[in-house]
């Protein structure tokens, strides 16, 4: 079986500074990969490279485009890249305010992708939006409210609904639980795990929180100073870290 996403030796330099260097991995359909590492280790740069938000200096990123097989993303036109980004992919921002349109209602936020791909029936768009609000445990009665009136956790769930409404196959998440209260974090993780299993989503999750990785991810990519220092199954890496940096990372988790 060929992978959903194949990354070969991608690098990105910001002048003298290394964003990320020589990263390679494969991701299969339905698989969740967590990228962990300290801040400044190149996690977010990697995510932006994968989602074609920035172009890589070297290497290639291939994606299984429906009906076309593995295609190098650099060879796709801008229109095709955008199409991927709003149908087959999702991108959950760390700060929900970056991923949502704060000046339109929750329903419009969820419906935007549907309308972008050509839905022109108000009633159907609204029904789908209501359905998705319920799936992410938001009160469907608040469909016409602005996201500004929602709490941080609700905004994050709304952002997730907005991304999943077109049934993407691959979702990128940048610290989806950071900045949330611990109890809210737990519920969000629960929800994410459920959705990922139900929908058979593949996901790349950037996080500095090893607990998030432990709960959600099948595999782990440990980054430091722009390079991948260790990869493997999540439990294997966390229970038996090989690289000194991973050992340090695992050892530094607070035990209460």
């Amino acid at each position: 079986m060929s992978p959903l996403l194949r990354v070969k030796g991608i690098s990105k330099r910001y002048g003298e500074h290394i964003g990320c260097a020589d990263v390679s991995f494969e991701l299969h359909a339905g698989e969740v990969l967590a990228v962990v590492g300290e801040s400044g280790s190149g996690k977010s740069t990697l995510l932006q490279l994968l989602s074609t938000r920035i172009a890589s200096d070297t290497g290639s990123i291939e994606y299984q485009v429906t009906g076309r097989g593995l295609v190098d993303l650099a060879h796709l036109s801008e229109a095709e890249q955008r199409w991927l980004l709003r149908t087959d992919w999702g991108y959950v921002e760390q700060n929900p305010r970056d991923g949502l349109r704060m000046n339109v209602s929750a329903g419009a936020n969820v419906g935007e992708r549907l309308m972008a791909v050509g839905a022109r029936h108000y009633g159907e768009i609204r029904n789908t939006a209501t359905d998705w609000l319920q799936r992410v445990e938001l009160d469907a009665a608040r469909i016409d409210e602005l996201p500004t009136g929602f709490s941080g956790g609700m905004q994050q769930r709304l952002q997730i609904a907005r991304n999943l409404v077109t049934r993407p196959r691959l979702v990128f998440m940048d610290e989806p639980t950071a900045g949330l209260d611990v109890s809210v974090q737990a519920r969000l993780l629960d929800l994410l795990r459920e959705l990922v299993t139900d929908l058979g989503l593949a996901a790349v999750i950037v996080t500095h929180d090893l607990a998030v990785a432990r709960l959600l991810a099948h595999r782990l990519l440990v980054m430091r100073q722009g390079r991948v220092v260790e990869t493997g199954l999540t439990d294997q890496v966390l229970d038996d870290p090989q690289h000194p940096y991973t050992q340090l990372l695992v050892a530094s988790v607070l035990q209460v």
Partner: protein, 298 residues
């Protein structure tokens, strides 16, 4: 053609010939790509932005000595903006002007399309305050230009969705977004949506000028122009319960006129030429001046 009121010292129609050529080149491109906003080197005009600096430059650059010009402001020939611009071209170009729609070869308009059907030998010039239909939703022009390039117009439907969610119907009543020739999303300048159907397959050439934003765009004759809508909330135009109070017209766009401070009001045609023509033909409405009868005359 030059009348006594024509000022000397200016080139014909105020702008110099090079500038007019530059604007005409931009207009040719605009006609070639219906609905696409073409940048042009907008000049300072002797009237403030927002008063029709774009429209006046377009008119100046296409005006010929034999043209007959009509200028309307909200449908009316006798409001400030219309009077000013008409006088401007009388003085700088000395062309004939008219208030009759059918006599005009060029009609510069602020926010209305005349009620009388246009013909192939007429050109409409619209004054445009905000050429970018998605400007309110996406403030960055870099982004909106990319959205136009990729024909990525889902954003506009988000606005319409939001209207229905809030008001139960699409609440935009003017500057209602249209898709030109099945390709470019266009702001029809703030004409009431009542006039949108007149844009579709119009026999007249329609030119749009935005002076401050430095953009011109166009709808060539007989071009498809569709107003955006939802399948279950189709586009519809305004309707009034009463006919025009002066001419009894039921098919024109009506303005509400407040008569006193006791709730008195009447609805009259916004197109003054249309209303006058009908009144001259003997049509009357509820507020028509009582005609001088034989007894009073005697």
């Amino acid at each position: 053609m030059s009348s006594q009121r024509t000022q000397t010292g200016y080139n014909f129609a105020y702008l110099d010939e090079q500038t007019k050529r530059m604007i005409r080149r931009a207009l040719l491109k605009a006609v070639a790509i219906p609905g696409y906003q073409v940048p042009f080197g907008s000049r300072e005009m002797p009237l403030p932005y927002g008063w029709g600096t774009g429209g006046i430059q377009v008119t100046a650059s296409i005006l010929g000595r034999d043209d007959v010009l009509k200028v309307i402001d909200q449908g009316s020939d006798d409001t400030t903006n219309a009077v000013n611009i008409r006088r401007f071209f009388e003085r700088t170009a000395g062309v004939a002007t008219t208030e009759r729609t059918e006599d005009a070869t060029i009609i510069q308009t602020r926010h209305r399309i005349p009620e009388k059907p246009l013909s192939e030998d007429q050109i409409m010039v619209y004054q445009v305050p905000l050429p970018e239909p998605m400007g309110r939703l996406e403030p960055q022009e870099v982004v909106t230009r990319k959205l136009h390039a990729l024909a990525d117009y889902g954003l506009m439907h988000v606005k319409l969705y939001e209207d229905i969610a809030r008001y139960g119907h699409i609440a935009s009543t003017y500057d209602y977004p249209v898709l030109v020739n099945g390709r470019y999303l266009m702001a029809p300048s703030p004409i009431p949506k009542f006039d949108n159907p007149k844009l579709h397959m119009s026999p007249a050439l329609q030119l749009f000028g935005a002076g401050r934003e430095k953009r011109v765009y166009a709808i060539p004759p007989y071009t498809r122009v569709e107003s955006l809508d939802f399948e279950d909330h189709p586009f519809s135009v305004q309707r009034w319960d009463d006919p025009c109070a002066l001419c009894g017209a039921t098919d024109s766009f009506l303005d509400e006129v407040v008569l006193d401070d006791a709730g008195g009001r009447m609805f009259v045609c916004s197109d003054s030429d249309y209303c006058k023509t009908r009144q001259a033909a003997g049509h009357t409405g509820s507020q028509s001046p009582v005609p001088a009868t034989q007894e009073e005359a005697a």
